[in-house]
Amino acid sequence: MTSIAQEEIKLTNAQIAWRAAQDIVDGAYVNLGIGFPEMVARYQPPGREAIFHTENGILDFGEAPKPGEEDWDLINAGKKAVTLKPGASFFHHADSFAMVRGGHLDVAILGALQVAQSGDLANWRVGSKGVPAVGGAMDLVHGAKQVFVITEHVTKNGEPKLVEKCTFPLTGVACVTRVYTSHAVIDIVERRFVLREKLAALSVEELQSMTGAPLHIEGSVADLIVPEV
């Protein structure tokens, strides 16, 4: 369980999104999952131009329109109204998912219920109750050159979200390449969690106690430094 002190030492969701945004290079083609991952678009570093893909069929969409100016034929995968940037394009669903599975996207960023050290991801369903709905999640985890997860390090109850083996239904097997959490940046290398960055106020031991599988260290671990955003 997480102590109160550890709870206080953590990044906000906006800060997690900011940190992930720093790793998107100029010219990258990027798909941001619905919800929290959409926040990453706000923190693109100046001078870099990423092209955002939405799986319902747009490349290079931009901000939401002003209220009252929505065009409901111009929406993103979350069914929210968007606008276009110069250079945008439309395409049908088979082409859209060819961009995904065919290895044409550079980065996909998703949320998670659990990530396993093998890179398995569970993010679509908690159990077998209710109406199941998957959308594009199972497609998006395959094909992008890098699959990033952004997430709290532990659940609201303090349970690890980074685990040896997922207990929730899987979205994909061995698909996640990097995880940005409220406390650390962790790569998945050969079915192991490799710690790259952690909050300076947190020891490796404290971080390990919040993590459900071994954290490996290869070389140095950098401080995870994020501005107030």
């Binding site: 069929g57 409901w72 034929d73 069914k79 398995d120 998957v134 959308g135 199972m138 497609d139 395959h142």
Partner: protein
């Protein structure tokens, strides 16, 4: 050659009980609300409906479900801002669901239209949605075999159409619609405007008329999102 139809009722007049019907659209964008409502007026039962979603509010596909016309939904995301119609019937065991990942759904429909009975995809490998499906390894990776999807009818919304059935779409309302046009034995399309043959630049035709059987003009098509915000119901 004249595929234009004078009325919505005439356009859907051949859709009968037990048919498999692809319905275009992603949420409200590209959803042929007027054709769906004409189909509800006609009232065939025991339908299998293929769409990305499973209706929203009390209009369109949701109204078909409310009317008891749908036996089975094949979709990727049967949730919406107001999913009561599907949710209530599903939890009561009154409607069947085949849940398909969105990209697999699109490719299965494309395959149906392209004469490809099955294909392999990495999507869903190792998950519950691949259970019971053949798995093969290619170049060291595992893939799931998925079957084509075809339909008796597709009902589609497009932007411009001509008497040959050539179509253009409006923005992201394209989504599944060109694929569904290819995958149905009979494709029925509502367009905002019927134009003379030749008016659509051949370079700009998105769906060639060979994939289309009927075209009917609905000059001011309604938008699902706006109807839902206004609290409109079909009944």
């Amino acid at each position: 050659m004249n595929k234009t139809s004078q009325s919505l009722a005439a356009a859907v007049s051949e859709i009968g009980d037990g048919a498999t019907v692809m319905i275009g659209g992603f949420g409200g964008s590209g959803a042929p609300i007027e054709l769906i409502h004409a189909l509800i007026s006609r009232g065939p039962k025991d339908l299998t409906v293929i769409n990305n979603n499973a209706g929203n509010g009390r209009i369109g596909i949701a109204a078909m479900i409310d009317a008891g016309m749908v036996r089975k939904m094949i979709c990727s995301f049967p949730k919406s801002s107001d999913p009561r119609a599907f949710t209530d019937k599903y939890l009561a065991g009154e409607i069947e669901l085949e849940l398909v990942p969105q990209g697999t759904l699109a490719e299965r429909i494309r395959a149906g239209g392209a004469g490809i009975p099955a294909f392999y995809t990495p999507t869903a490998y190792g998950t519950e949605l691949a259970e019971g499906k053949p798995i093969s390894e290619f170049d060291g990776r595992h893939y799931v075999q998925e079957r084509w999807l075809k339909a008796d009818f597709a009902i589609i919304k497009a932007h411009l159409g001509d008497r040959h059935g050539n179509l253009t779409y409006n923005k992201a309302a394209r989504n599944f619609n060109p694929l569904m046009c290819m995958a149905a034995a009979s494709t029925i399309v509502q367009v905002s405007r019927i134009v003379e043959a030749g008016e659509i630049d051949p370079e700009h035709v998105v769906t060639p008329g060979i994939f289309v059987d009927r075209v009917v003009e609905v000059s001011q098509p309604r938008q699902e999102e706006e109807l839902i915000r206004a609290g409109v119901t079909y009944a």
